[in-house]
Subunit: 218 residues, 2 copies
Amino acid sequence: MPADRTLPVTDRTRHRRLREQGSVSRDDLDAVLGAGFVCHLAVVVDGTPLAVPTVYGHDAGAGTLYLHGSVASRSLVQAPGAQVCVTVTHVDGLVLARSVFEHGVNYRSAMVIGVPRRVTDPEERLHGLRVLSEQCAPGQWDYARRPDRRELAATDLLALATDEASVKIRTGHPGDGDGPDAALPVWAGVVPLGTTRGAPVADPALRAGIPLPPHLVG
Amino acid sequence: MPADRTLPVTDRTRHRRLREQGSVSRDDLDAVLGAGFVCHLAVVVDGTPLAVPTVYGHDAGAGTLYLHGSVASRSLVQAPGAQVCVTVTHVDGLVLARSVFEHGVNYRSAMVIGVPRRVTDPEERLHGLRVLSEQCAPGQWDYARRPDRRELAATDLLALATDEASVKIRTGHPGDGDGPDAALPVWAGVVPLGTTRGAPVADPALRAGIPLPPHLVG
């Protein structure tokens, strides 16, 4: 892992607005990418930019995002070597200010920009699929049946280096607590938002006598 | 409201993969757009497609999405009349199958494609901001201080018609319950995921004696 954990600033990742929310820390980038498993892939298809939701895996040590290529195949078959953007966003809260204008959202977001490559090396293909699987459903790679040769052949895997990335983080309370609006009789603060995980629900087709494995409990 | 609630299928919105997950129902579209307030805007900036997270409001009656233009100004100043895509995604669950290959995600997603227009009519600007505000923080438009003339002038508002849209919905259990893998001693089912709203946290700068308004309780 490189000693310098600062992200390079390029023309595409320079923070133009709300500078206080920008981060050039690779640790922040890794934290944002590590906290989710669904991203939005921006890709141009027939001249139209599309934002396609898809799952991803992040190998922080290698600085590589892995995506299921099949989801993006419309574009990536048509435009090999094309620029894409992968955005991961976590919504942490509603920021309620004294004025509508100062309302906002607490969030953590990362945009990774670059040209993805198709992963062809069999060893890296297996590694990338494992990274992706473990990010979405930790513990399942060693528990469920792994992909066989036919399934591996049917899976298109893409890799995107995280060399060029933009991170934005907003936390805390509204900014109008020390302005003239602070005198208004209006409540201000934050409504926290988060993701919850419910108790696992068994497939009605599950055959009898199969317990919930430990990694899915709690 | 038009009697036909079927979305037109265009070359850009035709479902190419996983047909069973596609919906051409405008009611489904409205439900997906109504259930969130953060979207990803795909837009080409200097030849690179970016997926930019931003808030939105949906006027279902008018078939119009409203976006804060300032967020997208890098692109929309550079490329007036440009095609964009607005994607709203809700992640509802992890689908755990007997094989890694059959794992998936339960989700609801809508992609709206088109050329946004800048809203200049003062009446529609106020309407659009109200729609956006009420979608993000219901009740706040009538409670907090509304935008004054200076704030209105500083706000760039964009409108995007929902005429061309693609909706995808996946629900239910894994699909390998009736195949050969059903014989494996592997648990299968769904882990539900959802969004939670915590109790409101008051701004430390909030002056004393201001109660939490009723629309923020519960």
